[in-house]
Symmetry: C2
Subunit: 207 residues, 2 copies
Amino acid sequence: MVVKKNIGIFIFDEVDVLDFSGPYEVFSRTRMNPGLESRLSKKTAPFEVFTVSQSEKTIVASGGLKIIANYNFLDNPKIDILVVPGGMGTRILIENKRTIEWIQNISNLASLVTSVCTGSLLLAKAGILENKKATTHWGALSLLKKISSSTKIMTTERVVKDGVITSAGVSSGIDMAFTVVSMLCGEAVSSDTAKYIEYKRSDEIIV
Amino acid sequence: MVVKKNIGIFIFDEVDVLDFSGPYEVFSRTRMNPGLESRLSKKTAPFEVFTVSQSEKTIVASGGLKIIANYNFLDNPKIDILVVPGGMGTRILIENKRTIEWIQNISNLASLVTSVCTGSLLLAKAGILENKKATTHWGALSLLKKISSSTKIMTTERVVKDGVITSAGVSSGIDMAFTVVSMLCGEAVSSDTAKYIEYKRSDEIIV
């Protein structure tokens, strides 16, 4: 029997579509057994993946994609792995006390905290990146430093592991997710999942 | 002034998340002007991207992601570029007359028809891939041939252009979208968009 880990993906207005959907795809398609058949059920799925918004409502992501969050801050199940994606919406949320506190509280209880793109700005604001190596979208590297001056900003890697796992812009969230799968399920499971979604993983990852 | 093209992305229950969200991201982030600033508005966006479902309702994509379609078959605006993504839901839709007829009707009027992954099964059923080169997810290559015996099945390329543009499994839809951007907006616009979303494009494309 596979003991599933809960992966909570925070979504919000103007979250970038691929920032959250890339990791969503990777985590929800991962199976401990390889091949096509195992994907027909969730029997060997190591993760239970769901979205969480601040309030119960429809989220309008980048480009106008409408998503209904599975949960909100008041009713979300226990989150083992937190994914904080980025997007223009993060600029407003940096000043949103309720969001920052929720990220702090969830992070205190989670076994792993991750971000994609400018999601790292929210982690920085929550104090989670203090004295850690981290990255973000190339257009927000200086803003990340401004929010968390003790953070060592990594400018060339797609995925940076330093307790917290941050990733560079948008599509690098897919590589972040595969890094997590490799850590928790092993390289064979990660490779099989990449084969299933026909993704060529990047090796620009630092430990 | 940029004359926008309408890109309609068909979504349905058990559509694969990355199949539709990858092209959604690429098309909705494309700008004729490069850099960060141009992405703050839709002023130089060459595409208007929207989702279309058969009926007006919430779609539950792979892994349980809930999406609200922008339009349905009865009210969708003119579609210049049709994107048909794949996913397990395609297996039922192959036998859904209303869906196949909608794809036929839209394809007759569209300037470009594209598919991701097993979306090509629906194009095949609609007769759109007759005597054409095409591809699909590696697990569905023989099924594609079974549905459209005159189609030349390409087994190693991520993106196949033969009037209709088909792509291989899941993440290769991102490469399909960049192929379209390059065709319609030029290589510089395509490269700048790839840089913005930090995606490394594949060269496994045949003309």
